[in-house]
């Protein structure tokens, strides 16, 4: 198969790569850039474990061909905070015990981050709706919903400080 040259901005860095026509963004992120927070779950757009931000919008990276993302900006859970640090939403997930096996967590954090950017003070219903595409099989969602609320408060108070 003839490869296609594309340019992606991944977690703030410009990257130029060659991709196969049927290569998903998910595989590019994991296999080429070792961004393994992006999880390969169902592979068919049902579980949300592969959620990333594409130009700020949460999308399923298993359902996107890398070639169609040419020129766009991708942020994974690794890119939410500088290397070695965590961001407030990640901290909230840890504090609220919203992580058990952890497989869904990066996708949850990405969807939650996008929600709070649009809606800094989300209700339980807002959170449930925003996370509808992210499945968790361990925690039962209660702690996750609490974590998103806590994360939203942290982000708000951080904004007030700066």
């Amino acid at each position: 198969m003839k490869k296609i040259p594309i340019q992606l901005t991944i977690n703030g860095r410009k990257r130029e790569i060659l991709v196969r026509p049927n290569e998903t963004l998910l595989n590019v992120l994991r296999d080429r850039f070792h961004l393994t927070a992006v999880k390969y779950g169902c592979g068919i757009g049902e579980c949300g474990a592969c959620t990333v931000l594409l130009d700020g919008v949460p999308v399923l990276s298993c359902q996107l061909l890398a070639a169609t993302c040419d020129g766009h900006e991708v942020v994974t859970a690794e890119g939410l905070a500088p290397e070695g640090e965590t961001d407030p939403m990640q901290d909230a997930f840890v504090e609220e015990g919203a992580v058990q096996c952890g497989f869904c967590t990066p996708g949850m954090v990405i969807s939650a981050t996008a929600l709070v950017r649009e809606n800094p003070d989300p209700s339980t219903e807002d959170i449930k709706d925003a996370l509808r595409g992210n499945l968790c099989r361990c925690t039962g969602y209660e702690n996750i919903i609490r974590a998103v609320k806590t994360g939203a408060k942290k982000i708000k108070s951080r904004k007030r400080e700066t």
Binding site: R20, N22, E46, C62, Q63, L64, A67, D70, R132, G133
Partner: protein, 285 residues
């Protein structure tokens, strides 16, 4: 071995040229939420992937005398955010919120949802109830197809191998009332067990006009012509609606699958239809 090529055409004309050359091997890639699953499951192993996501000419929203025309590569999220859709097609707007989940809605397109021809396409029942039509283009020219005659079978439509679905026209519903209900096994990201959409027009408490469409109960989304006919001219009462809705069994041919048995689907779709009709008619359910 899979064997794909990739094309990002500059305009619709180049898309149609590619479809003319490739026919069924020309795979229209819009949101990709279905196509990528088919590639992953190896139902589709080769072809020219024609990426139409960047074509602004397929993302127009036009208010015309005949109704609202919606470009085929508008995403479900684009439609939900559209002021025109919210104002002119409020029932369609409400129905769109039943679609998939935010991650899917960000990418899945209106044209893709219809052209994929799934029996449980979430936009199909409501668009059927609203008498929508689709615009189809090829190098040979353009044509309009009533949505009611668009679907042929599971994954099959009247589209010829060189044709592309370019837009959907939804007539403004005037003083008709429209309602869609969807039954899934859970609230989030659920494929429909069955769904029902109705458009009803009343005059002096009589049913002057009615359209009914169901999803998930036949190889394609279907109109319930028997029930429509039976309700015409009838007084709009709860008893009448519940009685005539029983005739739905003649219009549908559900199958048994992981989401429910054929028998269950027959029962539950009659109830769902009654509820949709009663709600649209402004009655207590």
């Amino acid at each position: 071995m899979s064997d794909f090529r990739f094309l990002q055409p500059e305009g619709l004309r180049a898309v149609l040229k590619a479809k003319e050359d490739e026919g069924a091997k020309g795979l229209i890639l819009a949101g990709g939420t279905n196509l990528l699953s088919y590639i992953k499951k190896r139902r589709v192993k080769s072809g020219l992937l024609i990426d139409i996501t960047r074509l602004d000419e397929l993302k127009n929203i036009e208010e015309g005398a005949e109704g609202i025309t919606l470009g085929a590569s508008l995403t479900i999220q684009d439609l939900i955010e559209s002021e025109v859709v919210r104002r002119r097609l409020p029932s369609f707007f409400e129905a769109l919120k039943l679609f998939g989940n935010p991650l899917i809605r960000a990418k899945a397109t209106l044209g893709g949802n219809l052209a994929d021809a799934s029996p449980i396409a979430d936009t199909a029942p409501i668009l059927l109830a609203m008498d929508a039509s689709v615009q189809v283009a090829s190098e040979r020219g353009e044509r309009t197809v009533e949505l009611a005659s668009f679907f042929k079978g599971v994954g099959e439509t009247v589209l010829k191998p060189d044709e592309v679905l370019t837009a959907v026209t939804v007539p403004a519903c005037g003083d008709s009332r429209v309602k869609m209900l969807k039954l899934g096994l859970r609230k989030g990201t659920a494929c429909s067990v069955t769904s029902a959409a109705v458009r009803i027009k009343l005059r002096d408490r009589e049913i002057e006009d009615v359209r009914i469409a169901l999803g998930g109960v036949a190889p394609t989304p279907v109109r319930a012509y028997t029930v429509e006919k039976a309700l015409l001219g009838k007084p709009c009462t709860g008893e009448e609606i519940e009685n005539q809705a029983q005739l739905l069994r003649k219009d549908i041919s559900p199958i048994t699958d992981v989401r429910g048995s054929a028998e269950y689907r027959k029962e539950v779709s009659v109830n769902l239809l009654s509820r949709a009709l009663l709600t649209a008619a402004g009655m207590e359910v």
